[in-house]
Amino acid sequence: MSSSSTTTTTTRLLMLKASDGVTFEVEEAVATKLGAINNMVEEEGSEDLICLPNVNGKFLGMVLEWCKKHANNNTNSDKGNDEVNKWWDKEFVMDLDQNTLYHLLMAADYLSGTELVDLLTEKVASMIRGKKVEEIRETFKIKSDFLPGQEEEIRKKNSWAFE
């Protein structure tokens, strides 16, 4: 991958600095699972310290934990690893509270971690599928601020969905 001949044996370490000053030392192969970091490494090359002012340390840590698992599991690619990744992903999102879930999703989106975005959006979608309007409002604590009469009109327009 790398054009430099000196990096073939030793793994390069990157330093990632979160918005609250927390820093993480991560192997390049792990951090570059995130598209945004991959771009920075390719463009800026020699820079070892990367500041991420939009991501809090707690969530950056979780994102990197996910990257690490996937980087490790992908080193020898066979079908068994797919299964391991799937199982691990399921565990990863299983008990996330909504606030953590959204923060992680925003962090993954900001860092262009496409696979992680897919995993987290699917988790939220699974919380919506098959639910009634009232249940969705309750689950996500959404207040309906439609004008009077508007709801009836929308319900009529989408009547099939309420059959």
Partner: protein, 288 residues
């Protein structure tokens, strides 16, 4: 510590991703949750992904140019569910299954290969206002009833269990179908085909047994005596559009198969059959 975030504070792109991963029904329900969700849940960005990825390329094969101005993607979705579009010179129709958004096709009688279909004393071709196609095939009289249809599997939606269906009516004077069950078969051209026994007599529906005349009763007994232990008979059902349908077989499209899917109806018994009106063979997701 980071502040508390709600779902509607996520970047719009993320919310679009999330809604695209639900179902058309969920997306419609979300319209009623709040004005914000309504604006995203009915956006083209979301419905473009609820439509099949090759939808526009299939529509480019349509007989009629699309109406202008182009409808929103959501309107397009529902119009494709309710009004099949004729494609390939009007010889096939394309529509969507409302619940799943999966692709459905009907192959017109003209596009099927019907043994003796070109011989007017056996089959005739008549315009039929209740058909979505220009004309239908009416069976005048044959012993050898054989109808075959095929469709490129790459047109079908992946990860979907499909069912193939003969869409037909029968004339008042129809005869020959109550005597014996025919054979329906579905499978890849290159592969093994699963066959089943099918009934094309519209007077014979599942569970209908009382108040028949002696002849029909005798015929029914004949059909039922052919029934093996695991040999279920597939009966005609009335469709929402007034036509009848009999299931010919199922096919699981995993998305990786290649070639053509073949469907057939055979009744090669030695007696004469008449009065079947064939609109086509439909391939649609099976409701489970």
């Amino acid at each position: 510590m980071a502040k508390t975030v709600d779902l509607d504070q996520l970047p719009e792109g993320c919310i679009e991703d999330i809604i695209s991963l639900t179902t058309p029904r969920d997306a419609c329900r979300l319209c009623l949750v709040s004005p914000f969700f309504r604006s995203v849940a009915q956006s083209d960005a979301v419905w473009e992904r609820l439509l099949p990825p090759d939808c526009l390329s299939i529509l480019s094969r349509s007989v009629d140019p699309p109406p202008l101005p182009l409808p929103s993607k959501k309107d397009l979705y529902f119009s494709l569910c309710d009004q099949p579009v004729l494609i390939d010179q009007g010889r096939k129709s394309f529509s969507l299954d409302k619940e799943s958004g999966k692709k459905c096709f009907m192959i017109s009688a003209r596009e099927l290969s019907i043994v003796w279909g070109d011989t007017p004393m056996y089959w005739s071709w008549i315009p039929f206002p209740e058909s979505r196609f220009e004309d239908v095939a009416e069976l005048i009289d044959v012993c050898w009833l054989e109808i075959r249809g095929k469709i490129d599997v790459s047109l079908l939606s992946p990860s979907t269990l499909y069912t193939a269906i003969l869409v037909f009516k029968s004339t008042e004077e129809a005869y020959g179908f109550s005597i014996q069950a025919g054979k329906g078969a579905v499978g890849l051209a290159e592969g093994e085909k699963l066959t089943r026994k099918i009934v094309l007599d519209v007077k014979r529906r599942q569970g209908q047994s009382r108040r028949r005349n002696r002849r029909q009763r005798r015929n029914r007994n004949l059909v039922e005596s052919q029934r093996g232990r695991d040999d279920e008979l597939y009966y005609p059902r009335v469709r929402g559009d007034g036509w009848m349908e009999t299931e010919l077989g199922e096919f699981f499209c995993d998305g990786g198969q290649e070639g053509e899917l073949e469907m057939s109806i055979m009744d090669l018994s030695s007696h004469w059959k008449s009065g079947l009106i064939v609109q086509g063979i439909e391939i649609r997701p099976k409701r489970v």
